[in-house]
Symmetry: C2
Subunit: 213 residues, 2 copies
């Protein structure tokens, strides 16, 4: 214990009362705001930026859906050979709730055949559309689709048009990957930029099981 | 299919060759960098910022640990009554791999008793230290600890000292919550700022199951 933890012990009655009052006001303000938030709708959610956590937070929402027993699906556009932990876990325990398709094949720079990359990305996008159209799915995660969009393996206008016109009203679609296109962020309901403050690769630490994959 | 997808079809032999060469160079450069990253060590990981995904990505890493059958633990400092999905899922399926303690009680502004908040945060921090000291745990997630630090319910110097001197070398510790203190970011190996680009609450959409909780 340090001094800080005894703050309240050192507080006068008046200070304690002010603290309680401040907290009560905060609570009131929050409740007032939350009362105006009454709608539910399926969201277009984008995770982008150079920082960590884009895919990880996407999978975190998928696990939340699984926790609430809501059917969901994942299409991995790029990281075929990389992030297998989530897939193994979902396939072993929750395959009744979550469909999982890995259609990309390693990072794009590991394939040197643009025609094959384009074909693979298109196949993944066709599967994504099928899963989103199926109203039983409450959430569909399109993991690393932004990389396929960035290289124009898929046309961003196709994706934007589809999400605008064909996505069922209550379905959440999560799109991850750095360099999200402006057109996509424009139609997103929720967009987060994961910004890199510090990265251990800079000090010679390699990718580790349970952290990066 | 739009024109974009036929890019390669329209490419000349020379263009295709250039594309392949460029990708091969990228791959080489990446492999050269990765070869220098040889160390493994337990990381101090901070997720902060006003955007979404701080806790969600933290839980995503916990699920990765579970997927790799690595023992891990979670201490929730604040969100007692809020994020129960992950806890339910972990307790129902993975309690052998992941210990889960919820010691906070709702957001701080829902309690109006600073002494009780401080006592609760201190209890959570004692539990956190115990879990981190136990070398069987490969990762310990301190969810929303930054909020307790920000209100000085816990002294940041205590946390920094402990992580520096007592954290086992191979243990990962993940600390989440907005307004991470500078002292904490300074000692972090990996720090990410989740920045809000767009938020649906602004357009009257409420917190939804499977997304926010």
């Amino acid at each position: 214990m340090t001094e800080n933890h005894d703050d309240t012990a050192g507080m006068t009655e008046a200070e304690l009362a002010r603290h309680s009052e401040k907290m009560a006001k905060k609570k009131q303000a929050r409740e007032k705001i939350m009362a105006t938030k009454t709608d539910e709708k399926g969201l277009v959610i984008v995770h982008t930026g150079k920082g960590k956590g884009k895919s990880t937070a996407g999978f975190g929402m998928i696990f939340r859906h699984i926790a609430h027993k809501k059917p969901c699906a994942v299409v991995q556009f790029i990281k075929g050979a990389w992030q297998t932990g989530e897939r193994d876990l979902i396939e072993a325990h929750f395959s009744d709730l979550c469909q999982f398709y890995t259609l990309g094949e390693g990072f794009t720079w590991e394939t040197q055949d643009r025609a094959r990359d384009v074909a693979m990305a298109q196949t993944a996008w066709e599967k994504a559309k099928e899963l989103i159209r199926d109203e039983r799915n409450s959430m569909v995660l399109l993991d690393e689709i932004n990389i396929a969009l960035r290289y124009d393996y898929i046309d961003v206008n196709d994706v934007v048009d589809f999400l605008r016109t064909e996505k069922p009203y209550m379905t959440h679609v999560v799109l991850t990957g750095r360099n999200a296109k402006e057109e996509l962020i424009e139609i997103a309901d929720l967009a987060t930029e994961m910004e890199l403050l510090k990265h251990p690769f800079r000090s010679g630490i390699k990718a580790q099981q349970g952290v990066e994959y």
